[in-house]
């Protein structure tokens, strides 16, 4: 039987506010345990929450970016359950009335087509603390620094049909939130966390199959592998006459498998109700306008602009806008270099190649955007050839110095004085009389290939500095 996969994602995005969603404690990552947990975060008797404006603005930015309705009135609710990393015994979240309503994003499929994925909702909530399971002589240690960190939970429609689509969607959301600057996107530190709801159904059937929820997917690679494993597992179960059990499953990256989380005997009964300590959040037009005013350009728009303004191919534009730092870098290169296409080539081939080889990210590149722009500019204005430029780039990478400085110091400036080039050409022709003879007697079709020999000789004699275009032209004239 042919099966169809149905996936929906829930993505928890930590927002980049300085302070927590309901308290004035810092959200900085990596502090000593419980040093950033204030009375409110610890749920002390008598404390009360007050909502952080920064969290609300970030949710509004996201909602606007995915063209969703921003709820003019949303409500915070308590989700009640006991767990040591949940100090109050409830999580403040949004339930019936979330701040961001239905929206959508577009993903690029492998076949080059674009697909629209629905976003059901996005709501604000507080993060929980962390349980540290290293052995404290039979105890678990609780660090509540993370408790109260603002989260935006982004829930997709079950529109995704493969692990690859799920990854493309997750990457798209990652791209949007980092472009907006509302999340640092750091997956190692847990700033961007994914859960997947996965089910399968026979192709052609309308009803969804029973789904399982996959947790602990903290990289795009794990997301893909976990879904692939889970889909196969579900198909196996169904094809051997069994039934999929609705449950939460944990992805084990080491074993590359999902396994049932031993959930307690109780079905979860979270007893949601409106939090009486918080009032309805009412958002006025003016608040939205003010928030959106400084909104950064989104990846889609930037990609289109790169195609139009810089004449880039769809592929190049997609690659260069993949992350905001990358697109910013590119535009800084162009601003100096002038030649947009050449800048794109140099960035994507030489710079990315070098970064890749060194295992570095763009943020820590030894060659700054301005420096790379300076180099590309010298190629564009014929000061140096592309080949010489590679030597200069290597030197820039090593020393961090500017292209012009290296060109001057090493005397790499291209020879463009035609009389100087002509003198070298004449020398070469005189030294290779036999080859000149052969060339002139050759089949005209073979001549272009034979010309390469002379070009090589001239370049060698000029130590690579002769302008190749001029050399070609002169040689053709003189031999012709």
């Amino acid at each position: 039987m042919a099966w169809e996969t149905v996936i929906g994602l829930e993505i928890h995005v930590q927002l980049t506010t300085k302070s927590k969603i309901f308290s004035g404690a810092s959200t900085r990552f990596g502090a000593e345990p419980n040093t950033q947990a204030c009375l409110v975060d610890l749920g002390f008797p008598g404390v009360l929450p007050v909502l952080n404006e920064g969290a609300v603005r970030r949710a509004v930015l996201f909602g606007t970016a995915i063209e969703a309705e921003i709820a003019r009135r949303s409500v915070f609710a308590r989700k009640n359950y006991f767990y040591p990393d949940l100090p109050k015994g409830y999580q403040i979240s949004q339930y019936e009335l979330p701040i961001v309503g239905r929206g959508h994003v577009e993903i690029l499929l492998e076949n080059g087509e674009r697909k629209r994925i629905g976003v059901t909702r996005a709501h604000l909530e507080e993060d929980a603390g962390k349980s540290l399971h290293e052995d404290f002589h039979g105890y678990t240690g609780i660090d509540l620094n993370r408790a109260g960190t603002p989260l935006l939970e982004i829930v997709s429609e079950p529109d995704l049909r493969s692990a690859k689509e799920a990854v493309a969607y997750a990457k798209k959301i990652h791209q949007i939130v980092t472009y907006l600057g509302i999340c640092d996107g750091n997956m190692q530190e847990g700033s961007f966390r994914m859960d997947a709801n996965v089910s399968v159904r026979p192709v052609g059937r309308k009803e969804f199959g029973t789904r399982t929820e996959l947790k602990n997917l903290n990289s795009f690679r794990f997301l893909e592998r976990a879904i692939d494993f889970e889909v196969e597992r579900q198909i196996d179960v169904l094809e051997s006459g069994g039934q999929v059990v609705q449950e939460t499953r944990l992805y084990d990256a080491q074993k590359d498998e999902t396994r049932s989380m031993r959930t307690k005997e109780e079905a979860n009964d979270y007893r949601y109700f409106p939090d009486p300590d918080l009032l309805p959040l009412v958002i006025e037009d003016a608040f939205i306008e003010e928030t959106v005013k400084g909104m950064p350009e989104l990846p889609e728009a930037r990609r289109r602009r790169f195609e139009e303004e810089y004449g880039l191919s769809a592929y190049d534009a997609e690659v260069l806008t993949a992350t905001r730092p990358q697109a910013d870098y590119y535009e800084a290169v162009v601003a100096v270099a002038g030649d947009a296409k050449l800048a794109a080539n140099w960035m994507m081939v030489e710079l990315f190649g070098a970064l890749n080889k060194a295992g570095l990210s763009l943020e820590v590149s030894p060659v700054s955007a301005e420096a790379l722009g300076g180099l590309v500019k010298r190629i564009a204005d014929d000061t140096i050839s592309g080949k010489i430029a590679k030597t200069v780039f290597e030197e820039m990478w090593r020393s961090g110095r500017a292209a012009d400085e290296i060109i001057e110091e090493k005397g790499l400036r291209q020879i463009t004085d035609s009389s100087a080039i002509e003198a070298i050409v004449d020398e070469v022709l005189a030294e290779n009389a036999q080859q000149v003879e052969n060339y002139r007697n050759a089949d005209p079709k073979k001549q272009p290939k034979m010309l390469g020999f002379f070009v090589g000789q001239v370049m060698k004699k000029s130590q690579g500095k002769a302008n190749p275009r001029q050399v070609n032209e002169l040689l053709r004239n003189k031999l012709g």
Partner: protein
């Protein structure tokens, strides 16, 4: 809706309250009595009434995103039953 013994056990578990076996029936009776009082509400037709969650028709005020809290861990943990290296300790949680 008559309250069963199993309901009481379920609620006690949800609320994380240990209830000794021998007290269940008595507790069931008390709770049923309270629910009986509560269910007098059913006499009232509240079909199209908007539920009232708050006495005042106010909206949520927003706090400026600023760090105002300092580290007072030692002071806050002075009242904690069991801490080590700045961590609160609970019986081992198995995931």
């Amino acid at each position: 809706m008559s309250l069963q013994r199993e309901d009481v056990e379920k609620i006690a578990h949800l609320a994380r309250l240990a209830v000794p076996e021998e007290e269940l029936e008595h507790l069931r009776g008390e709770l049923a009595g309270i629910l009986h009082l509560v269910e007098q509400m059913d006499e009232l037709d509240t079909g199209d009434i908007t539920p009232m969650a708050h006495p005042l028709e106010m909206t949520q005020r927003l706090r400026v995103d600023r760090v105002t809290e300092e580290n007072h861990r030692d002071q806050y943990q002075a009242v904690a039953p069991l801490v080590e290296n700045g961590l609160y300790l609970v019986p081992r949680v198995i995931e």
